[in-house]
C-alpha cells in the first residue's frame, strides 16, 4: 500500500463531444514529489486537473490516489482524501473577506463540518490556521477586504492560499504565478516550496524558470498525450520535447 504512488493516471481519456482533449495520459507521481506538468497551450493541462479533482467525469482510464481508485468520485470526496487544488482562473468567495475565505478553506479539515450549533469564533485552531495563512501569504494587512476587491496579485496569492490552507497532503496548483510580476513570482515560489515540504505537489506552469527551479520531475503534455516524463535533465534533453516547444520556451529549455 505504501509503495503505491501518490497519484497514478492510467490511460486517462477525455472527449468533449468529438474533440479529443486527452488521448491517453499516463503519469505517476510519487509521494512527496514535486511534479510539474508543462506543455503548449491547449495541451489539456487544466483538463487533466479537472479529471483528477472530479470536476468533469473521465471518458476512459483510471485515476488512483495512494492505490485507491478515485476515478468516479465527486470533487468533495476527493478533497476529503487529501487532494486540494487551485484554479487557473481565480475562483474565490468574492464577497467574503480575505480572512473569511481562508477560514472557509480550512473549515473542513479543522473539524467544523456543517456545524450550526457552535459559533465560528469558537473554533480556536481554525482561526489560528487562517491567521497563520494570512501571514504566509503576506495578506495580514488586507484581512478584512472582500476578496473581490483585492488587487490581482493579491487575489492570485489568496487563490494559492485557498488550496493549501486546508493542509491537504496532495496539492494541485494550476498556473499559480500566472500574471504575477517577477518579484511576486519569486515570493509565490518560495511560499509553494515551503508549504509543499513533505507533501505531494503537482503544478501546471508556463514559467519555465519556476518549473525547473521547483520540480523534482516533469511531464510534458502535448496534444492530449504525455510525450516525455522524467527529471528536469531528462526532459531538457528529450528531442520530442524540443520539437513540441519550438518557439519562445525552447530558449529556456536549452
Amino acid at each position: 500500500m505504501s509503495a503505491a504512488p501518490a497519484l497514478l493516471l492510467d490511460g486517462v481519456v477525455k472527449n468533449f463531444g468529438l474533440v479529443h482533449v486527452l488521448r491517453d495520459v499516463n503519469i505517476t507521481v510519487a509521494a512527496g514529489e514535486r511534479h510539474a506538468i508543462i506543455g503548449p497551450n491547449g495541451a489539456g493541462k487544466s483538463t487533466l486537473f479537472h479529471m483528477i479533482t472530479g470536476r468533469f467525469p473521465v471518458s476512459g482510464g483510471r485515476i488512483s490516489l495512494h492505490g485507491r481508485d478515485i476515478t468516479d468520485m465527486s470533487s468533495y470526496d476527493i478533497y476529503r482524501l487529501g487532494v486540494a487544488r487551485s484554479f487557473q482562473v481565480t475562483s474565490l468567495f468574492n464577497r467574503l473577506s480575505v480572512f473569511e475565505n481562508l477560514r472557509v478553506g480550512a473549515m473542513r479539515n479543522k473539524g467544523a463540518g456543517h456545524a450550526w450549533w457552535r459559533l465560528l469564533d469558537g473554533y480556536g485552531p481554525l482561526r489560528e490556521r487562517a491567521e497563520e495563512m494570512l501571514e504566509m501569504l503576506g495578506l495580514t494587512a488586507r484581512r478584512n477586504v472582500p476578496a473581490g476587491l483585492l488587487a490581482y496579485a493579491d487575489q492570485r496569492a489568496l487563490e494559492i492560499g485557498l488550496a493549501i490552507v486546508g493542509g491537504a497532503t496532495t496539492i494541485l496548483l494550476d498556473e499559480p504565478t500566472a500574471g504575477m510580476s517577477r518579484h511576486e513570482t519569486e515570493r509565490a515560489v518560495a511560499l509553494i516550496r515551503r508549504v509543499s515540504e513533505g507533501r505531494t505537489l503537482v503544478i501546471v506552469e508556463h514559467d519555465m524558470g519556476v518549473v525547473f527551479d521547483l520540480a523534482d520531475r516533469i511531464s510534458v503534455l502535448d496534444n492530449g498525450r504525455v510525450i516525455a516524463s522524467g527529471t528536469p535533465a531528462d526532459v531538457r534533453g528529450d528531442p520530442a520535447v524540443r520539437s513540441a516547444y519550438l518557439g519562445a520556451a525552447a530558449e529556456v529549455l536549452t
Binding site: T53, R55, S74, S75, Y76, Y79, R80, A84, R85, F87, S91, L92, F93, N94, R95, L96, E100, R103, V104, G105, M107, R108, N109, A112, G113, H114, A115, W116, W117, R118, L119, L120, D121, Y123, L162, G166
Partner: protein, 413 residues
C-alpha cells in the same frame, strides 16, 4: 468595543419592543406591531436564502403557511382540551416548517440560481393546488380557525387580549431574530455565504454545495414555520392565501426594499412595507401599482435597499461630511417631488376614472384638491408635473451622484 457595537442594537430592539405597545396603545397599533414582528421574522428567514445563501425562493410562503396550518390544528386541539399553552405554538409552527422544508429541499436543493428559482415556484404552485384540494385538512378557501385563548392559562394569562398576544409574538420574534443572527456566525452560516459566492469552489474545499443548500433551506423553513405559528396566534385563522404566490411576492418586496446585503435590512423592509400597506391601503386603490413602481425604482437606482442607502451614508454622517452632500441632494428634490406628485396624480385619476365607469359618482379629489378625471385639467397637470419632474431629476441627478462619489471617495482614501 466590538461586543458593545454588536449588542447595542439588540438592547435597543428589546427596549423598543417592550415600550412600543405602551406608546402606541390603540388596538390598531398593537395589531400593526404584531404584523410587523411576524413579517420581520418571515423576511429574515427569507433572506437566509436570498441574501446570505444566494437562493431565490419563490415558494417561501409555503413554509410559513404549512407551519401556520400545523400550529392552527394544534391550537384547535388545545381548544378541545389538550394541554398545549398558546406561547408554545410557534415551536409547533417551526416544527411544521422544518419538516416541510426537509421534504421540499430534497427536490430543490440540487439546483442553483435560475433553475432553483423556477423549481421553488413550481413546487409552491403544486402545494397550493394540493392544499385547496384537501378541504378536510386545510379548510378549503375559508381556511381553518381556532381560539388562542382556549389553551391552558400560564400564570393566569390566557393570551386572549391583544396585548398579551403581542408580548408572546414579540418574545418569539426577538428570539427568532437573535437565533438567525447567531446562525450567520456559525460554520454552516458562513458556508452558505461561500456557496452563494462560488458554489463550485466550495466543492473543492471538501463540501457538497447541494448539501449545504439543503441544510440552509431547512433552517430557513424552520423560521418561516415559526412565523407561521406567530401568524396563527395573531390572526386566529390560516387560509390558503397565506401559502400562495401573493404572500411569497410580499416577502420578496419587503426583503428587497429593506436590503438583502445586511442582517437588519429585511426587518427594516418588513416595518416599512407593513406601514405602507396599512397607511396606503386605506387611502388608495392604487397600492399594487405603487408597489410595482417602488420595486422598479429601487431595482434601478437603489439595489441595496434602504439599509444599503443607510450603509453608504453612515460613514459620511459620522465624519460630518454628510453636510456637504445636502446642497447637491436638495437640487434633486424639487424634480423628484414633482415627478412623484405627477405619478400619483396620474394613477389616482386613472383609478378614479375606472370606478366612475364602474358606477361610482363622478368627480373626486387628490390630497383634498378637487380633481375630476372626466375633465382634461387634472390629466394635463399630472402629466406636466411628471414630465418636468423627470426632466429635472435627469438633469440634477448626475451632479448629486458626482458629489457623492467625490465625498465618499474622499473618506475612503
Amino acid at each position: 468595543m466590538r461586543t458593545i457595537s454588536h449588542t447595542l442594537p439588540w438592547v435597543i430592539a428589546v427596549v423598543l419592543v417592550l415600550v412600543a405597545p405602551h406608546v402606541f396603545g390603540s388596538g390598531f397599533s398593537i395589531s400593526l406591531l404584531c404584523r410587523m414582528a411576524i413579517a420581520a421574522v418571515f423576511a429574515l428567514s427569507f433572506n437566509m436564502l436570498m441574501g446570505q445563501g444566494g437562493m431565490m425562493d419563490f415558494g417561501h410562503a409555503v413554509y410559513l403557511g404549512l407551519g401556520g396550518f400545523l400550529a392552527m390544528h394544534v391550537m384547535r386541539a388545545a381548544d378541545a382540551g389538550w394541554w398545549i399553552p398558546t406561547p408554545a405554538l410557534p415551536i409547533v409552527g417551526a416544527f411544521g416548517g422544518v419538516v416541510a422544508a426537509g421534504l421540499g429541499g430534497l427536490v430543490v436543493s440540487r439546483s442553483t440560481r435560475t433553475a432553483f428559482a423556477m423549481i421553488t415556484m413550481g413546487l409552491a404552485e403544486a402545494i397550493v393546488a394540493l392544499v385547496l384540494m384537501l378541504p378536510r385538512l386545510f379548510g378549503g378557501e375559508e381556511g381553518i380557525n381556532a381560539d388562542r385563548s382556549g389553551g391552558p392559562p400560564i400564570f393566569g394569562f390566557d393570551f386572549g387580549s391583544p396585548l398579551e398576544a403581542y408580548y408572546v409574538i414579540a418574545f418569539w420574534a426577538l428570539a427568532a431574530a437573535g437565533l438567525m443572527f447567531l446562525f450567520t456566525r456559525t460554520p454552516l452560516g458562513r458556508l452558505s455565504n461561500a456557496v452563494r459566492d462560488n458554489a463550485e469552489r466550495v466543492g473543492f474545499l471538501g463540501y457538497n454545495p447541494g448539501r449545504v443548500r439543503y441544510f440552509v433551506y431547512m433552517f430557513s423553513g424552520l423560521f418561516a414555520g415559526l412565523a407561521g405559528g406567530l401568524q396563527a396566534i395573531n390572526d386566529e385563522i390560516i387560509t390558503s392565501a397565506n401559502i400562495g404566490s401573493n404572500a411569497a411576492g410580499a416577502v420578496l418586496l419587503m426583503t428587497f426594499i429593506g436590503g438583502v446585503g445586511t442582517f437588519a435590512g429585511p426587518v427594516v423592509g418588513a416595518v416599512v412595507v407593513t406601514l405602507m400597506q396599512m397607511a396606503l391601503g386605506t387611502v388608495t386603490e392604487a397600492w399594487q401599482l405603487y408597489n410595482g413602481l417602488i420595486f422598479i425604482v429601487m431595482v434601478l437606482w437603489a439595489p441595496g435597499g434602504i439599509s444599503g442607502i443607510i450603509l453608504a451614508h453612515a460613514p459620511l454622517v459620522r465624519s460630518g461630511q454628510a453636510r456637504r452632500l445636502v446642497p447637491s441632494y436638495l437640487t434633486v428634490l424639487p424634480g423628484f417631488v414633482a415627478a412623484l406628485l405627477g405619478t400619483i396624480g396620474l394613477s389616482e385619476n386613472a383609478y378614479r376614472l375606472q370606478s366612475i365607469r364602474g358606477g361610482s359618482p363622478p368627480g373626486g379629489s387628490i390630497f383634498g384638491i378637487p380633481s375630476d378625471p372626466q375633465t382634461m385639467t387634472p390629466w394635463l397637470v399630472s402629466l406636466a408635473l411628471t414630465a418636468v419632474g423627470l426632466w429635472l431629476v435627469a438633469r440634477t441627478a448626475p451632479r448629486a451622484r458626482a458629489a457623492w462619489l467625490e465625498i465618499a471617495g474622499g473618506t475612503q482614501a
